[in-house]
Symmetry: C2
């Protein structure tokens, strides 16, 4: 089994620690942070979700940021409007098309929190990344940070009425940012780039969401410049009756070990209970699966993991590895951030090898 040491300071960051950036909004989430080591600090690239304050419980509000006019529009819905389905607090759906999302109830952007000890963080006043083009008007979510040389490549989910895809920016100093556009076309999420070339190619995990045929499973792609991607291959499937039977996606940046590339990935049941598990890929060809965890290595057990805006969720977008210690940072209950330490060897021993 894999022992889990949750920090005494958990949750490390909660919405109440964050001052809203938008007037008339409340912060409902500070979670699913990408993680980077920069100079002598650990940076959390927090996904901050802000919601327009509604004084009337019968009114549901949906924010859209129009990048062309720099206008933040707020659309109001009556909760008893039968044309819409308000049952998921994260979104507004059309009543007749249960899969189709009409609007989101919050707008997410990225803000940085900084720490010297990895437990106590200071939060930047201003957003680090904010929606910047029409493919991001519903917000940007769930960043993953891959350092290659002195450059940090940040992949995140870009949402708009046009679709949900994987965008990328890069930075050397977390101040100046280069925009590289949408690198994985919709519908896609959970883009995670490997930290070095393997056999002359860059690799990335991605998670298409499919309409007609197929399931929300993990795929792998290759590139020679990180901007353009191809040779998409299906990597792993959902497993009926198991912890990862409903949907899966890459989590932390793959960790190079002598047994292969270790991917910490999330899996959820159809009932949306999100856990973290392990996946091991061949060191010389990451399109080949070596091992996978039949049981989760982390599941929602603490109160702050079980209860929140969207409960029963642990969801990691980044980890720091120091020797045998994996410091896995993870979002809890779509609300806050936490961290747990696990042993790399214990994770590797816990996997089922094929």
């Amino acid at each position: 089994m894999v022992r889990v040491y949750r920090y005494e300071q958990n949750p490390l960051i909660t919405p109440s620690d964050i001052k809203p950036y938008h007037e008339g909004f409340e912060v409902i989430g500070a979670f699913n942070a990408g993680i980077a080591k920069y100079k002598d600090e650990i940076l959390m690239l927090l996904r901050i979700a802000e919601r327009p304050i509604s004084d009337d419980p019968k009114i549901v509000k949906a924010p859209i940021y129009h990048t062309d006019t720099d206008e933040l529009e707020i659309i109001e819905f009556h909760r008893d409007d039968e044309r819409y389905d308000f049952s998921d607090p994260r979104m507004i759906r059309k009543a007749s098309h249960s899969q189709e999302i009409e609007y989101l109830t919050s707008l997410s952007y990225i803000r940085i929190a900084r720490s010297k000890d990895g437990r106590n963080f200071t939060i930047d006043e201003k957003p680090f990344l904010y929606p910047s083009n029409k493919l991001e008007s519903f917000g940007i979510e769930d960043p993953r940070v891959t350092q290659i040389g002195d450059t940090f490549y940040i992949c995140f989910t870009a949402l708009s009425p046009l679709g949900i895809g994987g965008a990328m920016v890069s930075t050397k100093d977390f101040v100046t940012v280069k925009h590289h556009g949408m690198i994985f076309p919709p519908e896609n999420k959970d883009i995670v780039i490997f930290p070095e070339k393997v056999n002359g190619k860059y690799y990335a995990l991605h998670r298409p969401s499919l309409k007609s045929i197929g399931k929300p499973e993990i795929w792998i792609a290759e590139s020679d410049n990180l901007l353009y991607w191809g040779n998409h291959q299906h990597l792993i499937s959902l497993r009926d009756g198991m912890w990862d039977s409903g949907r899966i996606g890459g989590g932390a940046v793959p960790i190079k070990t002598d047994r292969g590339w270790l991917v910490l990935y999330h899996g959820a049941t159809p009932e949306n209970r999100y856990c973290m598990g392990g996946l091991l890929l061949d060191l010389n060809n990451p399109a080949v699966v070596v091992a996978r965890s039949d049981q989760p290595i982390l599941e929602p057990e603490a109160d702050y993991e079980k209860e929140g805006f969207f409960g029963d969720v642990v969801f990691s977008c980044g980890a720091i590895v120091e020797g045998d210690v994996v410091k896995m940072y993870y979002g809890v209950a779509d609300t806050s951030m936490a961290c747990a330490e696990l042993s790399l060897e214990e994770i590797l021993d816990f996997l089922t090898y094929y």
Copy 2:
């Protein structure tokens, strides 16, 4: 208006012209061909759809080709099995999830037909492209052929239980083929590559099919080597109440004109009436739309266009341009191939400029 000269020989190729490749199968479609000029001939890269013969009208059969074992499996369904929806003759759906396709009722592959005059074709005995990996086990469909230098790049839809995506092969002689894998991840179709670099980049049109947010609309991507693609941008939307209100996708390879890149694209209504229209993109930046046809340039009017396996469909995957003459080859009723000649100038004059 755009005058349309349909060939007297239409339909040029029908299923009855094709000998089935699989024993116990019947050819139900020879359509949606990619077009190439090679040496002194016009080649049609026909999509051939073959269906397992069923003697019992109550039995519906679904073919799957297992590339790893080279086995062609046929699954049988009872038409009165209430778990499934057989209302679309092309596929078997789950009754409870109307959007999800469970199986296809035919297997498609690519076969070449050759002609010196563009009207009378001789059909190759053997397939030119056949499913070759597990992403193609439900078949390969709707090729588009782009010639760059002496190489022909052939993009097509790859279908399997894992998803529907855009694959590519290349050839210099239509004998030896290089496989480049899936270049656009699922769910995607209608990949059409531009015939030359524009401002130092290759471009391609593609058509994601979206599950949660967004519609089946045309996007554009860029590349520096044709294998890896990025900077995905949304190009054009559906138009309510018009001929292209239900779904759209790129058709023939873009035609370079002095007014811009002319794209012949298909549009369908929600009731699945497929027409062809025109789209004009900026000569130096094809992500910018210059003009678009408010009316179709070709719509299903002839008997062979209105009636067939799936009627009321004209669907072009390739054209030959000679001076002002556009010889637009197109699939009809998901059954046969036809060709019509149109004037390039008339098409350009017919568009509405923005």
